[in-house]
C-alpha cells in the first residue's frame, strides 16, 4: 500500500535487509582438522573432524576453494561429496609431516602421520556453489 503512495524507500530497505540476512545466515565458520596415518606404505587410518565454530574466528582469508553446493548448507555432506577435491586442497594449504622409521635387526618398519591442525574455515553457501576460505 505504501509503495503505491510513493514510499519506495521502505520496501527497498526491507528487501536489502532480507537479502543481507539471507546471505549472512548462510555463511558460517567451521573448524576442520584432518589426519592420516600410513604404516609400512599402507594407509592405516584417516580422520577428518568438522564442527561449527563456537567462538568467532579471527584471521585473514587465504586462497579459496569453490565447490558445487547440493547439500543445503551442510558442510559435512558437501565435503563427503567432494572429498577428493577438498583433501587435495587441504594438501595445498600445508600439512605437518611426522615420520618415524625403525630398522631393527635388518627389519624395517615405518609410520608417517600427515596432519592438518585444527583450522577455521569460513564457508559461504550460495544457491549453486559454496565458497570455502581458511582464516589464518
Amino acid at each position: 500500500m505504501r509503495s503505491r503512495d510513493g514510499n519506495d524507500n521502505l520496501s527497498l530497505r526491507l528487501c536489502s535487509i532480507i537479502l543481507f540476512f539471507s546471505l549472512t545466515l548462510n555463511a558460517g565458520e567451521y573448524l576442520v582438522s584432518y589426519k592420516y596415518i600410513v604404516k609400512d606404505a599402507i594407509l592405516y587410518n584417516e580422520t577428518m573432524n568438522i564442527s561449527h565454530a563456537m567462538k568467532e574466528c579471527y584471521g585473514t582469508p587465504q586462497k579459496e576453494l569453490i565447490l558445487e553446493n547440493t547439500s543445503n548448507g551442510n558442510l559435512k555432506k558437501l565435503i563427503s561429496k567432494n572429498s577428493e577435491e577438498f583433501i587435495e586442497y587441504i594438501h595445498k594449504l600445508g600439512l605437518n609431516v611426522e615420520h618415524n622409521e625403525i630398522t631393527s635387526n635388518l627389519q624395517n618398519s615405518s609410520t608417517t602421520i600427515l596432519t592438518l591442525k585444527t583450522t577455521c574455515f569460513k564457508v559461504d553457501f550460495n544457491d549453486n556453489f559454496a565458497r570455502i576460505t581458511p582464516l589464518k
Partner: protein, 178 residues
C-alpha cells in the same frame, strides 16, 4: 790311510764346489723376484697416488656442490625439489578403485616424507647391543618432522598394486623469511 785322507779332502772340496754351483741359480731367481716385487710396489704406489688425486678431486667437487647448495637459498632464488613416493594398496579392498585411492594416499604421504627429508633433514639415532662379543640387537631409528605446503602432484602411476606419485615443490627465499 794317507790316501783315504786325501780322498776325503778331495770329496769335501768337490761337494763345496757343487753346492756353489747349485746355489747360484737360486740367488738369481731371488734377484728376479725382488726386482718383480719392486716393480709391483712402484705400480701400487702409483695407483695409490692416482686414487688420492681422485679423492681430492671428488672432495673439491663436493665442496663446490655444497657451496652452490648454500648459495641457492639466497634472495631471489628458488629451489626445485622433485621426489617420488610409493604406496601399496591394502589386501582387503572392495574394488580396484578403492585400492588405487588408498595406495595413492599412501604414496602421497611417502612423497611428503621425502620432501621433508630433503628440505629439513633427517634425525638418525643408532643403537647396538653387544653381549658376549656378539651383536644381540642392532637398531636404527630415523625421524622427520616438518611442515610441507604447496607441493604439487606431477604424475601418478599404478602398477601391480604399487602406486608411484611424483611430486614437486618450488621453494623460494621468501617462503622462509616471513
Amino acid at each position: 790311510m794317507k790316501y783315504s785322507m786325501l780322498l776325503i779332502a778331495l770329496l769335501s772340496v768337490s761337494s763345496l764346489i757343487g753346492a756353489e754351483h747349485i746355489h747360484s741359480p737360486d740367488t738369481q731367481a731371488m734377484k728376479h723376484i725382488i726386482e718383480k716385487t719392486n716393480a709391483q710396489l712402484a705400480h701400487a704406489h702409483a695407483q695409490t697416488a692416482e686414487a688420492r688425486a681422485e679423492t681430492r678431486k671428488a672432495q673439491a667437487h663436493l665442496a663446490k656442490a655444497n657451496a652452490t647448495a648454500e648459495q641457492i637459498l639466497k634472495e631471489n632464488k628458488t629451489i626445485h625439489i622433485s621426489v617420488v613416493g610409493q604406496g601399496v594398496a591394502p589386501m582387503n579392498t572392495s574394488s580396484p578403485a578403492q585400492a588405487y585411492a588408498l595406495a595413492k594416499r599412501a604414496a602421497i604421504a611417502d612423497a611428503y616424507r621425502a620432501i621433508a627429508e630433503k628440505v629439513k633433514g633427517v634425525r638418525i639415532d643408532g643403537q647396538d647391543l653387544i653381549k658376549n662379543m656378539m651383536v644381540k640387537r642392532s637398531t636404527i631409528r630415523t625421524s622427520v618432522k616438518a611442515m610441507v605446503r604447496n607441493a604439487n602432484i606431477v604424475e601418478t602411476t599404478f602398477k601391480e598394486g604399487l602406486c608411484e606419485v611424483e611430486m614437486e615443490m618450488i621453494i623460494s627465499h621468501s617462503d622462509f623469511v616471513r
